[in-house]
Structures are given as structure tokens and as C-alpha cells.
Amino acid sequence: VTDETLSLGKKKDKEIVADYHKKIKEAFEVFDHDSNNTVDVREIGTIMRSLGCCPSEGELHDLIAEVEDEEPTGYIRYEKFLPVMTEILLERRFRPVPEDVLLRAFEVLDSAKRGFLTKEELIKYMTEEGEPFSQEEMEEMLSAAIDPDTNAIHYRDYITMMVTDES
């Protein structure tokens, strides 16, 4: 590794960081309703996830603690958010799981291997296990996932739909 390669590498890194900075800025600004470089703390999760990250609620909670001011004001300042978020993107933390992992997760819950989950089953798992959904989250997921004729969630189709939406 020569000096030249090293400095070229550094240049590339700088460009990548600059690129991330611009991405983060745009995502932040869209929620900065007052145009004063702050966002409501309740939007931080949305902003992070819109940048492609998939933290759990617990991880999100810890991250918020990192970007909050010493005396939490209910608002997060851009100056504190930017370095933390850049680090996350550089280290590729909280990457979403691949599609097939998601499929297998549904299959685990569908122990009878029917290819679907009933509405009651899904509600039970999502609102009682793991990091439970709120009622609003549950209703929202059902409204898009459920097949009104069978009252079941055909998870393969559901996953395909979500993935197509995102691309």
C-alpha cells in the first residue's frame, strides 16, 4: 500500500462522508418544520429508518439518549444528530434483514405451515411478544396485510407487496 493509494482512499472516504452528510441533511430537513435545525424527538425514529436503518425499539431508545441534549428539551438538534447518524451509516449498523430472513420469521410463527397466519394469531404475536405493537400499529399493519375474504395474512404476498413498494 503506497502513500498514493492511501491518500486516494482517504479522498474516497471523504467523498462518502460528504455524500452521507447530504443525505442525512435532507432527511432531517423534511421533518424540521420550523426550519431551525431541530426536529421533534418523536420523529428521530422515522428519520433514521427513512435512511435505511432498522433499529429495534430498544436500540432506538439508546440512540435517542445519545443525541439528546444534557437537559432533554423534546427536540433533537442537527449538530448532535449528524455525527451519530454518519457513524451509523459508515459502520452499516442496523441494516435491515434480507427478504428471505423475514419470510422464515413468518414461517416460524406459522407452525402448521399453511402459508398464512390468521388475524388472531398475528395480533397475539405482535401485541404480546417481543417489543409489542401499539393498537395503532397493529391496526395499520392489518389494514394493509389482511385479505378481507379469508381474514388471514398471506405473508408471502404481503412481503412481496412491501418490497415492491420500497423499490
Binding site: A27, S56, E137, S143
Partner: protein, 650 residues
């Protein structure tokens, strides 16, 4: 929702199930957040374009100032033309002239009103409008006339007192959303002796039922003039309404439309500026400014604020001119016949500030560059002004808020917005406030939707996005020449490609829209594997229909871009309301317009185009046909039919 402390152990129902559940939950929350972000991006696009539109209307205002100021010079060249322009500001004095010859045929099955109005007439209107019936022009005009008479007796600010028995309901922008008004009346009761209302401006524009909303509000006002209070908004402005399409909801109105618009012009100017509740709460449409003088505002002749687009001329008395008496049988704002002085510029500005300003969290008071009118005022301004006049709160509207209302400046400023789904279905809720002396204000929210159930988030977001991007692409195509020029300036290697940053810079500077271009680029342009933008792909999938094949693209683009401004201008020139203007008038109007706006199109090219399009072949131009001929074609347009079923609200 569901913020979960990481140190609390989740219930263990078998590690396999637990892990699977966590995976799904994590994924879903990520997906939902990204949907919400897309929704926010779409909203940003809508808002940005809306404000840019308002700004360009302000540009029109400076054009009119330019015309008025150069009157003397233009006089020599074309008295006729400018006469027409000024003549449009005539006063309507005689009701007889307008109502006399309009008879209502027996075959008319819509609501029939009896003046003076009573509660029964309001009932007829409600039932009629709920069945999508259209009010006959005769009743519309009578309504406007009666409303004007009563409004003239109202002061600039109505002072209201509430008591523990009598509260008051405050509604914000309705923007022609009849459904929202019906929901409010349903949930909160119709106005009556014991049910007072304040409607805080912007009753019209954008929604489909501006006329119906106005008729209902005015009818209620006529029956309960001391209980229904109507404040003027920035859209209660005849210039803004000169885009015929906004008020048209029937063939009757097409025939009498111009007459109705003239009357509306007057009614608007007589709307009060604001209300003051219990000597504590100021209710105005937009906001305040550093220099606001409530005492002055109580005194000025409010009806002289014709339009935000017509500032008072700096009357230069030296520039007297001889108006041919036979031609000027009308009074103009600068005619020697006018009985009183026109409004002073700073008085006019005070009213504009009231109607257009927005609160911001930054201290200070500075011009509202986004909208082009009024100012931005910070919490320090609010504190200063409120304490100066011993007030406790400012309630205003003017800005669309996702929840229908918003509180800022430490609880001293409340924004109330009553038009739900303002930008797009699902974009926002509407709200109203109930106020009672001694109690904190109570907020009520709703959202009307044409569907048998509220659609899932992803569908609402998709709809919003599609429409937001349509609007944005129309902007883009209308500036194709300027954009291409800007791109090529940056493209030193002539490769047809630019970096993302360069492309974003060009888009922002040419379009003047402060948007997250990098994120939006995914939907707007093609990029290669290195992330470089093929900039001409900005114009793919859309083009402006050329009414005539041989015409240059720049001409088409320019006419498309300025079509709304031109519509306003032509409507003014068309003094006999025939929908037709002569070729000379068109030519002269275009010349004035293009010189002021610095349009890079040769006059002869426009002339050529008009010649080719002279559909009437008799030297006159049907300008509506002309302007409609320039429309945008979206390559993948699929217009889905929406099934109108039940009206529900949440």
C-alpha cells in the same frame, strides 16, 4: 408508540418465536417509518409549489403596479387598453341592474330562497347542496348583494364577549371543502342565537365547492349577523379568483360568472379584518407584524384594500391626464371623481400583513419570501404586540397543519385549519376550536374521505406521491429550456451527465423550489452505476401538447408557464365578458407582459402562433380555448375512477 426500554426483558415464549416476532416487528416499523417519510416528502412538494404559486401571483401584482405607474406613457400608445384595465375596478351600485333580468325558470329544481332569509332557507341550501344541487345565479347574486349591505355596517374588528353559557366556535381555512363545513355543522351544530361562530378566512379556492361554501356562510351570516363572524382571508381577493375555473361549478355560473365575480370583488373588500374575543384574543387570518397598529386598523377604510395584487399607486399628482369623459363613465381609484383619497401605502401594507404573515420560531420580523407577501414573525414579536394591546392570545389560520391545528410561541399563537385532505386525500386533518371565557380552548379534529373505509397508509401515501410528483414534473417541463441551459453550463465535458450535486443545484436555482432534490432524484431522473445523473431524463415521460406542430418549444413552454397570469390579464381586458378579445388586444397585452417579465420569446412568434390558432377566423380570440390548448401530457397517465360512496369522517 411503543418506545421500549432495552433493559426490560421481553416475555419469553420460546426463543424461536421471540426472535421471529422481533424480526417482523423491527421490519414493519422500518417499513412504516419509510412510508411516513415519503408522505412527508410529498407534503413538502405540495407546500413548496403552493407557496411558489402564491409568490408568482405577487409577481403579477408588481406587473400591475408597473402598468399603473406607466399609465401616462401607455396613455399615448393605448388609452383603450389601460382604460379597460382600470375600468374593471368599477363599483357596482345598482342591484336592479344585475338582478332584474335574471329569471328563474320553472324547470329549476334547486333551492329557492326568499329574501330576507330565515333558518328555513338555510335548511333548503343544506339539503340542496348535500344532493349536489346547484344554486341559481339569481339567488347567488341576491345573496351577494344582501351580504354586502350587512357587511358594510360591520366595523373592521368585531368585538365579541363569551360567557359560561355561551361559547364560540372558531374555524379556519375551508378552501371550498363543502364536506368539511357539513361535518363541522353536524358535529358542532348549526349557527344559531346560542351557537356563535367565527370563520377565519380563506373560504374559497382549491376545493371543489367554493361557491356552495360561500353561500352557506353568507346565508348563516344574513340570518344571524351578530352570531356568525366572517374574517377576510388572503384568498378573499378577486384577483385570485379571476381564474374562472375556481368558482365554476355550473353552466349558470358560466353565463353569469363574470357578474358574480364582480360582486364578489366588492363583498370581499367589506369582510371584516378580524375579531377580538373577550378583549383578550385576537383572531385574524394570517398573523401580525412588528409594526402592526391595531388602532389604525380599527380606523382605516378597509374596503379600499381591493387586492393584494393592486397596491395603492404612489399617486403623482403631476401626472394628471385627460380622461375622455365619454369613455370614463366609471370611477377608478385614481379618477378625480372619487370622493375620498385612496388608502395610503402603509395602511394597505398593514392589512396585507394581517392576511399573509406566518409565525416562525426564530425571533424577529422579516419579509415572508416564501409567499411573497406579509412577513414572518417570531415569538418576541408576538410577546411584544400582545402585551402592547393587553391581549393574551392570537388565533390565526393560513397554514395547513397535519393535525388541523398547531400551537406555537409558547402557547400564545394557535393555528387553526379546517380544510381536511387539503393537498391530497389523507394529507391532513381539519379542526375547529371551542372557546369559552375562563376555560382553555378545546380542539376538535376530523377528516372527511370519499371511501367506504379509511385506506391503509401505503395507499394514501401512494396517491399523495403520485400527485405530488405529477405537479412537480409539470413545473419541470414548463422550465425545460432554462433547465437545459443550466445543465449544459455545468456539463463541461458535454457528456450528458452531471453529478447528483450539480443536478440538484440546477433544479433548485432554476425552479426556485427548496426541496430535498437528492432524495427526490430517485423518482425524477435516471442515474448510472456511479450515481451520475443523465440530466435530460428529467424531462422523460412528460411533454407539453403543441397545439400547432411548427411552433417552437420555447414559445409553448412560456405560454404554458404563464397561463394563469395570462388568464387573469385576459379576463380583465375582456370588459364585455364575452370570452373574446381582439387580436390587437392580445398582441398589446402580450407585449406589455413579455417586456415586464423579461420573457425570452419574440413577439412575432407569439403573433404567428395566434394567427395559426385563430380558431374564430374573425379577428377575435377565444382566450379560454387558447390557454386550454397548452396542457401537459403525462406519458403513463392512468386516470382511475374513484367511486363516490358514503361520506364518513373520523
Amino acid at each position: 408508540p411503543g418506545l421500549y426500554h432495552s433493559s426490560t426483558k421481553p416475555r419469553d415464549a420460546g426463543t424461536g418465536v421471540l426472535k421471529a416476532t422481533l424480526i417482523i416487528q423491527k421490519w414493519y416499523r422500518g417499513y412504516k417509518a419509510r412510508l411516513r417519510a415519503r408522505q412527508q416528502y410529498a407534503l413538502t412538494i405540495f407546500r413548496s409549489i403552493e407557496y411558489a404559486d402564491e409568490q408568482s401571483q405577487m409577481q403579477l401584482s408588481s406587473f400591475f403596479s408597473y402598468m399603473l405607474e406607466n399609465y401616462a406613457d401607455m396613455c399615448k400608445e393605448d388609452t383603450e387598453l389601460v382604460h379597460r384595465f382600470l375600468a374593471s375596478q368599477q363599483c357596482i351600485k345598482d342591484r336592479q341592474k344585475y338582478v332584474e333580468f335574471i329569471s328563474v325558470p320553472d324547470s329549476y329544481s334547486g333551492p329557492r330562497l326568499q329574501f330576507p332569509l330565515s333558518a328555513v332557507d338555510i335548511d333548503y341550501l343544506l339539503k340542496g347542496f348535500m344532493h349536489q344541487e346547484i344554486l341559481h345565479a339569481r339567488f347567488v347574486i341576491e345573496m351577494l348583494f344582501e351580504t354586502k349591505k350587512v357587511l358594510q355596517q360591520m366595523p373592521n374588528f368585531t368585538h365579541i364577549e363569551t360567557s359560561s353559557f355561551e361559547d364560540i366556535t372558531i374555524c379556519g381555512d375551508l378552501h371550498g371543502n363543502l364536506n368539511d363545513l357539513l361535518v363541522i355543522f353536524y358535529k358542532n351544530g348549526l349557527p344559531s342565537e346560542s351557537n356563535s361562530y367565527v370563520f377565519n378566512g380563506d373560504f374559497v379556492d382549491r376545493g371543489k365547492n367554493s361557491m356552495e361554501v360561500l353561500m352557506l356562510l353568507f346565508a348563516n351570516f344574513l340570518v344571524y349577523p351578530n352570531k356568525v363572524h366572517l374574517n377576510r382571508g388572503n384568498h378573499e381577493d378577486f384577483m385570485m379568483n379571476l381564474r374562472k375555473t375556481k368558482l365554476n361549478s355550473s353552466s349558470y355560473l358560466q353565463v353569469y360568472g363574470r357578474r358574480i365575480l364582480e360582486m364578489l370583488e366588492e363583498v370581499y373588500t367589506w369582510l371584516p379584518i378580524g375579531t377580538i374575543i373577550d378583549n383578550e384574543i385576537l383572531v385574524v387570518h394570517g398573523g401580525i407584524s412588528e409594526s402592526i397598529d391595531l388602532d389604525l386598523l380599527h380606523r382605516i377604510e378597509r374596503h379600499k384594500v381591493k387586492s393584494v395584487l393592486i397596491p395603492p399607486m404612489e399617486v403623482n399628482r403631476d401626472h394628471t391626464f385627460e380622461l375622455d369623459e365619454s369613455k370614463s363613465s366609471v370611477s377608478t381609484t385614481i379618477s378625480k371623481k372619487s370622493t375620498s383619497e385612496p388608502l395610503l401605502k402603509y395602511e394597505w401594507e398593514q392589512v396585507i400583513d394581517i392576511l399573509w404573515s406566518d409565525p416562525k420560531s426564530k425571533n424577529g420580523c422579516y419579509p415572508n419570501t416564501c409567499r411573497g407577501g406579509g412577513c414572518y414573525f417570531g415569538p418576541d414579536i408576538t410577546t411584544k404586540i400582545l402585551s402592547k394591546y393587553q391581549l393574551k392570545m392570537l388565533i390565526r389560520s393560513h397554514e395547513c397543519k397535519p393535525e388541523g391545528y398547531e400551537i406555537c410561541h409558547d402557547g400564545k399563537v394557535v393555528t387553526i385549519f379546517s380544510a381536511s385532505n387539503y393537498y391530497e386525500e389523507g394529507s391532513n386533518r381539519g379542526a375547529y376550536i371551542q372557546m369559552c371565557s375562563g376555560m382553555p380552548p378545546r380542539f376538535f379534529q376530523y377528516q372527511t374521505t370519499w371511501a367506504t373505509h379509511l385506506k391503509p397508509l401505503r395507499q394514501r401515501v401512494n396517491t399523495m406521491e403520485i400527485n405530488a410528483f405529477r405537479m412537480l414534473k409539470e413545473r419541470i417541463i414548463s422550465r425545460k429550456t432554462d433547465l437545459t441551459h443550466a445543465f449544459q453550463l455545468q456539463d463541461h465535458k458535454k457528456s450528458g451527465k452531471l453529478s447528483l450535486g450539480q443536478w440538484a443545484f440546477c433544479m433548485e436555482s432554476v425552479l426556485g423550489l427548496n426541496l430535498p432534490w437528492r432524495t427526490l432524484s430517485l423518482r425524477l431522473v435516471n442515474k448510472d452505476k456511479d450515481g451520475n445523473v443523465d440530466y435530460m431524463s428529467s424531462f422523460q415521460d412528460i411533454h407539453i401538447k403543441k397545439p400547432v406542430e411548427e411552433v417552437q418549444s420555447t414559445v409553448i413552454e412560456t405560454l404554458y408557464r404563464y397561463r394563469y397570469d395570462l388568464e387573469i390579464l385576459f379576463n380583465i381586458i375582456d370588459s364585455d365578458h364575452s370570452g373574446l378579445i381582439s387580436r390587437e388586444e392580445f398582441r398589446d397585452t402580450w407585449k406589455l407582459f413579455s417586456s415586464h417579465y423579461n420573457v425570452p420569446v419574440d413577439d412575432y412568434q407569439v403573433d404567428e402562433l395566434v394567427n395559426t390558432m385563430d380558431l374564430n377566423k374573425d379577428g377575435s380570440i377565444d382566450f379560454n380555448e387558447f390557454l386550454k390548448a397548452f396542457y401537459v401530457v403525462h406519458k403513463y397517465d392512468t386516470l382511475k375512477q374513484v367511486c363516490i360512496t358514503n361520506l364518513i369522517f373520523v
